[in-house]
Amino acid sequence: MSPLSSPHLHAPLDTPRLMRLVVAATLPGLVGLLWNFGWGPLINVLLASVFALGWEATALWIRRRPVSFTLADSSALVTGVLLGLALPPLAPWWLVAVGTFFAIVVAKQLYGGLGYNPFNPAMVGYVVLLISFPVEMTTWFTPRELLPEGVALPGLGESLSRVFLPGAQVSPADAFTGATPLDLFKHQTGLLVEQIYAAYPLFARAELAGYGWEWVNLGFLIGGAFLLAQRVYTWHAPVGMLLGIALPAALFYDGGSSESGGSPLFHLFSGATMLGAFFIVTDPVTAAASRRGRLFQGLLAGVLVYLIRTFGNYPDAVAFAVLLTNFAAPLLDHYTLPRTYGHRRARRGTEKIDG
């Protein structure tokens, strides 16, 4: 629809364009994943996108809503891409199918589709899988450059057969699977941070956090900076989340003793930190509405990530933290209402209900 008369300014950033920008911005991070872990992440992303679009089309068809019009907004594509990026490489195809089903059908279409879902669909899919299939969800690979002599990451053909025929494997995947930096760090007790860093090539050959993973995180940081520059979202949520991780990490670092929680740099460039900060917590549907609310939400998500990583059972916690802050977002909105024009003071909390 074109604007009718002069005072209207046509916004060039409609939903389909915005969603495609987000997909494009994941490319640097995806390249990082591909470089370190072979074909797996690419197969994940493609497979998850196809399944996500398929589930979305099925749900829309059952609900008798316009299928091609809704698919064209690309929001299901974004959900599929984000879930695909979060899954471990060479996840069997049924894992992707189950994850995207919960993401698209349960977390999004049951609530009425895009704009109504209270929880981030991709993260719902991820958490359901993590709790239901912990073994499949925690088999990560050793980065390419750190593989022992004579061992190579599976090529395209072997990757495809591992994904689509998970039962028919001759060689086990043990040769090229390995702990992630967060895993390694979590399961070291009684060692100084320095000793851990010296003992494992994953840290010894790294510049910032963990070999390979730091480049993946840098890639997502670059993509995020691009989205910020394109004004897809404001800085509040990502900066809040990064601060929420870095500040407690600095507080509990205690100079690197054996009780240390890890340095701020280690936490910022490990696991899913940058993916979460620039692609997940910024989801406009499930976030708080106001900028102040998003800053608070980001901070809360970051602190939760740090707490669960350091003191909880799970090595990484971006998905849990994002779902928890999604759960808190509507209440945050009640307490961070912006001042309306002409009123001196914003209305707060339950004020309007109890009157």
Partner: protein
């Protein structure tokens, strides 16, 4: 100090009575349509639960255990809880008639809130002392109120959502509670 933090963290988040142990779902689903009444219900339940944890501990320690009547524990605790609820009901009726009307039937129904009995029984099973028992009661109630208020704010938003007809109302509410419960599983191992 450390113990206090662990007990509170455990009762509020890690072993949250609603989202992790699935107790007290009746008021959780029933009084979460409006944020205002959810806050009132949370406050009333906090009061009742803390008081019930304290008095059930006293009854167990000075009445049931010395007299060898521990087989009457469940009935005795229900009686104690009913008395505390009745007291709360009269208190709220006098101090805040508006809240009394908003809460309606759910106020006497705190008696049947299984979280209240659950806390009292678990306090005995885990052999908590007086201080721990009352602290745990308060923590459990704080956790209940926290998720009740968060859930109510979320449900006010859901009221405007284009939910498919078969899932309207309590159905989508339960789906949401399930997803929130998934999120709370992330706290496991914290305390």
């Amino acid at each position: 100090m450390h113990d206090i933090a662990v007990i509170l963290l455990s009762a509020i988040l890690v072993n949250n009575y609603v989202l992790v142990q699935f107790l007290g779902l009746c008021p959780f689903m029933g009084v979460s349509n409006k944020l205002g009444s959810a806050v009132g219900m949370g406050a009333a339940t906090t009061f009742v639960l803390t008081l019930a944890a304290v008095s059930s501990h006293l009854v167990e320690r000075f009445l049931l255990a010395p007299l060898g009547l521990t087989y009457l524990r469940t009935i005795a605790f229900i009686l104690v809880i009913a008395a505390v609820v009745q007291f709360t009901k009269m208190f709220i009726e006098k101090t805040s008639p508006l809240l009394y009307r908003v809460l309606g039937v759910f106020l006497p129904l705190i008696t049947t809130n299984c979280a209240v009995l659950g806390v009292a029984l678990q306090n005995v099973l885990k052999e908590r002392n007086f201080f721990e028992a009352s602290l745990f009661g308060f923590g459990a109630a704080a956790g209940f109120s926290l998720v009740l208020v968060l859930f109510a704010a979320l449900r006010e938003r859901l009221a405007a959502a284009d939910v498919p007809t078969p899932f309207r109302g309590p159905a989508i509410g339960l789906v949401t509670a399930g997803l929130a419960s998934l999120a709370f599983m992330g706290f496991s191992g914290l305390a």
